[in-house]
Structures are given as C-alpha cells and as structure tokens.
C-alpha cells in the first residue's frame, strides 16, 4: 500500500466523523437543545467513569465480532452480509448448551463458544456452497438466511425454550455466565474479541494463506492464473467469517444478554459491514471503529436522559459517517482529484 493512500485511509474517516458530528450538532440545535451540552453528556456517558467505560467495552464486543466477520470475508472478495444470521445461530446453539446440557462453568463456556463458532461457520457455509456450485449472488442468499435465522430464534424463544408465559428463553445459569474482565462491566468476551482481531490481522497480513486470500479478493482471475485454489479460499472466507460471527453470538449470550429475546442481535450484521468499510477492511482499525460506535450508542443514552435529545440522533450520526466515508474514499481515488491535489504536473485525464 502506498503511503499517500494510507494517509487518505485515515484522513477520510476522521473528516467524515467531524462532518457527521457537525450535522448532528445542527440537528440537536434544531431540536432545541444545546449541542455543546449534548456532546458533553455523550462523552460522559461513554467514557466519563470506569463503569461507563466498561459498558462501552461491553457494547462494543458483539460489534467487534461482526466487524471482523465482514473484514475477513470482504478481503477475499466475498460479500457476506449474513453476519447477523451467523451471530444468531451461534447464540441459539450456545443458549441450548448453556440451559439444557448437564455441563456448567468453564466446560460449558468452552463448549458454547465452540458450538457457536461451528454453527456460525456452517450457516455461512450454506451460502458459500451456493455461491461456488451454483454461482449465486452471496449477498441475497446471506440476507435471506438472516431472516430465516431471526425467525428460527423466534421459534426458540416463543416455543422451544420459552420461559413460562414471557416470550423469552430461560436464562443462562449463573455458573455459566462469563466472568467479568478486570472487574469492569465488560466480560472476558471483550479481550477475546480483541485477540480474534489480532489473529485475523496476523493471518491476513503475515501468512502466505492470508496473502493468497487477499489476492483472490483483489483479482480473482489473476489469482486463478497464478494457480491459487480460488474456490477453497472463497469457501474458507465464508466459514471463518461465519465462525467469527457465531462465536460473537455465543459470547454475547453468555456474557451480556443471558437470554434470547425479541430484537437480540438485531442490526449487528449490517453494523459490522458499515464499520468494516469505514475501517477500510483493516481488522485492528475495525476494532477501533467498533469501540467508537459503541461509545456513541452508550453515550447517547446518557445524553437522552440528561438533555432529552433522542438516542436516534446518534444513529443518524453513525449512518452519516458511513455515507461520507465511502463517498470520500471514492472521491480521493478519482483521477481528477489526484491530479488536482496530489500530482500537480502533467498526465492528461
């Protein structure tokens, strides 16, 4: 990667965030609140004290998993939009093992994590098989599988594992809850998410397998001509990205939510896609972006209580960040832009 391009990869998202916040401030002012005050509470709510910081880490954990899921798949040119479905399948399996198996404590946690990853991987593998054997568009298939997974979760919490009259599953027993991380409100799922991120980073950029996978993503034909097993890498990127999301789902259930309920995991898949794109598909940058978005969400609750500005303002800011970042990335790649700002001399067009 050229240094110039690398600069753009940082400057564009940062500028986009600033512009999005400015627009957010205008909206807040239009709603009759003080933007400075609102932003102060936003910051306080997200990072103001150790407790809030723990909440931010806790909220970022599932987002980190789905972001890494998207990063991994897109590096291989696979548009896996099914992070949400894979996440849910992972959490459904974990819910069964935690509540129905005789195991408790650490063995149960390990089995849940393993089953979650395996379930997410298999759920994604279904889409992978359809892409490879039937040449199908993986975006549509993975999105359809999201809806199927959401409905399947519905069956689980309204029927199969229902807790009495309430439409939710029975709770994970106390012994199988994930332990807290450094006494914070976040559980050990948070460091696990970061370790997975480091592992993805190491694999993609420091191993020959990762190099070949990225080569397939950059230019499938060239990779094929070079003798890389393109189909194997595509299948692998489906399974591994699905496994990352599934693991995230299992840990989210054991660590934070403890029950499956309507709305569990909703939107995490697309959020992961957005964050991966803002991070230019870089796993470590993806972790940073996920924590930033989680901070916005956690902080916006404090902002709403203190100033009455609705939390959906922060959703708008997040959505604007993605709209501006993706457009900005395209703009700096335009030949006209490069000519004007980067190389003043020569070269037509």
């Amino acid at each position: 990667m050229k240094r110039k391009d690398f600069g753009a990869l940082i400057i564009v998202p940062v500028l986009s965030i600033i512009i999005s916040f400015l627009i957010g401030c205008i909206i807040i002012a239009a709603l009759g609140a003080s933007p400075a005050e609102a932003l102060r509470y936003l910051w306080k709510g997200a990072f103001g004290n150790i407790r809030n910081l723990g909440t931010t880490f806790s909220r970022s954990t599932p987002l980190i998993f789905t972001t890494l899921c998207a990063c991994f798949a897109y590096r291989c040119g696979v548009f896996n939009l099914g992070g949400e479905g894979q996440f849910l399948i992972g959490s459904i399996l974990a819910c069964y093992i935690a509540t129905k198996s005789p195991l408790t404590g650490v063995p149960a946690m390990l089995l849940c994590a393993l089953a979650g990853a395996a379930g997410g991987g298999l759920w994604a593998a279904a889409a992978g098989l359809l892409k490879i054997w039937r040449g199908q568009n993986e975006m549509i298939i993975t999105i359809m599988l999201n809806y199927v997974a959401t409905l399947l979760m519905g069956v689980v919490y309204t029927n199969w594992l229902r807790d009495g009259s309430v439409p939710q599953t029975i709770a994970v027993p106390d012994e199988t809850k994930l332990p807290s991380f450094l006494g914070l409100r976040a559980t050990i799922a948070f460091p696990v998410a970061i370790l997975v991120g480091i592992a993805v980073f190491y694999f993609l950029f420091s191993t020959s397998g990762g190099f070949q996978l990225r080569a397939v993503g950059l230019n499938m034909t060239a990779a094929k001509v070079n003798g890389f097993n393109v189909k194997r890498y595509i299948m692998m990127s489906f399974i591994v990205s699905g496994a990352i999301a599934g693991l995230g789902g299992a840990l989210e259930l054991l660590g934070t939510q403890l029950r499956l309920i309507n709305g569990f995991g909703a939107g995490y898949g697309f959020d992961g896609v957005a964050m991966a794109l803002i991070a230019s598909l870089h796993p470590i940058a993806g972790i940073v972006v996920a924590i930033f978005f989680a901070a916005l969400r956690v902080g916006s609750t404090t902002m709403q209580t203190a100033t009455g500005v609705p939390t959906s303002v922060s959703d708008i800011i997040q959505a604007l960040v993605i709209v501006f970042t993706v457009a900005g990335m395209a703009m700096v790649k335009l030949p006209e832009f490069k000519n004007r700002f980067l190389r003043k001399a020569g070269m037509e067009g």
Binding site: N137, I140, I141, Y147, L151, E336
Partner: protein
Amino acid sequence: MGTFLANLILAGVRMASPLIFLSLAELYSQRAGLVNIGIEGIAAIGSLTGFLVSLITGSPLLGVLAGAAAGILVNMIFAYATVTLCAEQIVYGMAINIFAPALAAFIYRVYFGSGSELVQAGLMGTFKNMLGIKSNHFLVNLFLDQTPMVYLAFILVIVTAVYFTRTKSGLNYKAVGEYPKAAATLGINVIGIKYLSCVICGALAGIGGAYLTTCYSRTYVDGNIAGRGFIALAAVIFGRWNPGGVLIACLFFGFCDALQIRLQLINNTLPYQFFQMIPYVATIVVLAIIGAKKAGPKSSGQPYRKEER
C-alpha cells in the same frame, strides 16, 4: 373454486404489487449499469414518508407521491456517489441501506415522540368500494377489489416492456448498461441516463415502500420492508432482466408471501415463524435452481469514467 385458493390468489396479487415496484426500480437501475442494493433502504424512507403525508393530509395518494419524492432524494445520494464519484456500487448501496432506515426511524421518533402508541393512517380505497359494488364474486374481487396502485404496478410492467424493446430511447437506455463507451460515441448522454435511471429507481422504490403504508398496513413500523428490497433483487435475476420475467418472479414471491399468511391462519400446531420463513427460503431455492447464467447488462456494477480510454 375453493375459498382457500381464491383468497390465496387475491392476496398473492396484492403482495406482489410492492415487489413489482421494487423490482422495476432495480431493473431500471441495472439496465443503466447501476446495481443498487440500497432499494431496501430507499423503500424504508418511502414507506415512512408515505405514511406521514397520508396521515397529515388524509390522502393516501399524496402519500404515495411524497414517498416517490423522498425515494428520489435519497437515491440522488447514491447517484452522486456512484456516477460522479465512481464509488463502488455494492458498497454504496449498503451505505444507503444503513443510512435511510436510520433516517426513517429518526424522523418517526422525532415526530411522534418516544410514546409506544401506534398511530394509524387511512388506507387507499379499492375500485370496488369507490364504485359501491356489493358482489363478492371471485372475478369481481380479483379485478375490482384492488387499489389503483395494483393497476399501476401491472401497467408499469407493460410500459417498461414496450419502452425497452420498441422505442429508440429505450434501446439507447439499455446501451448505457451494456456498453457505455460505445453508447457515448453514438452521442448518447451516458451520465445523464445514469442519473435519470436513479430518478426512476428512487421514485419506484419509494412508491414500493409507500405501498406498504398506504395500501397494505395502516401503520409504519421500523423494518416493515422486511427484506422485500432484497427479494426484488432476486426477482430481477430470476426474471432475467426482462419486465415480463420480473413480473412472473414477483407474482411467485407474492404468492409465497400470501401462502405463508394463509397457512398461519389455518395451522396452529407448528410455530408460525416456520411459515414466515417461506418467502425467504423460496428465494434461496429459486436462486439455487436457476443457477448463474449471466444474462444481465454487461457493464452492470462497473464505474464509467469519461476520461478513460
């Protein structure tokens, strides 16, 4: 004819209509070489705008028009980013899918506050009601117990088919999606047609969304598009990028949707969610069966840069 089958056909036609609008939106976009996976999001904003305007003015028709206008506005962001800035279409479509529903949810919250009370707007009347016909014959219901929007959907399919195959302008339009550079040498305004395609796509996707809140359900809820934008993408592939094929695909998916509602009503042993899965599973199965014969516009998905030689 059994009541079950009759009701199924009636509901199928009604459920196919929003899909027809969304699929035609995608068809117009792809025929100009733009793959827009953001129509799910555009439909969400169209749905909310349609609902609000219909609620405020009391006219579902104005709601539909406002939905179309909102769809165009949002799709202009997509147009600018992908046509002028040459952003990757899939990536930008995804950005729209995240942005537009967030905007819709935000407007709804700000307008109605955080109260949980469901607000209901009026629905568009059917011809049967307007003409005061009392008969409940199947054919009367099929042809007259429909809103004007259902007719509009089917008329648009015919208009689109004629436009793309019988008119010079339609052939020029298709040329932009097939081979834009050759089209440009023939004096066709490639960029202009791409923008025009985004106006048409935005309007139709907005109408498709508004249909759900002006003709189908009295309320707006987040996520009410429920994947129809993506099913429309599948319908365009299934329909081989031809209006006729797209119509058949939409009717098929519409019937799947109608079938799941009917089955839910007559069966109470299986959890209802299994029936709700039918349209999504049908989409996957259909795509798996038809395979990957490439029949779409050749330059679809690729950016067009005037300066490149």
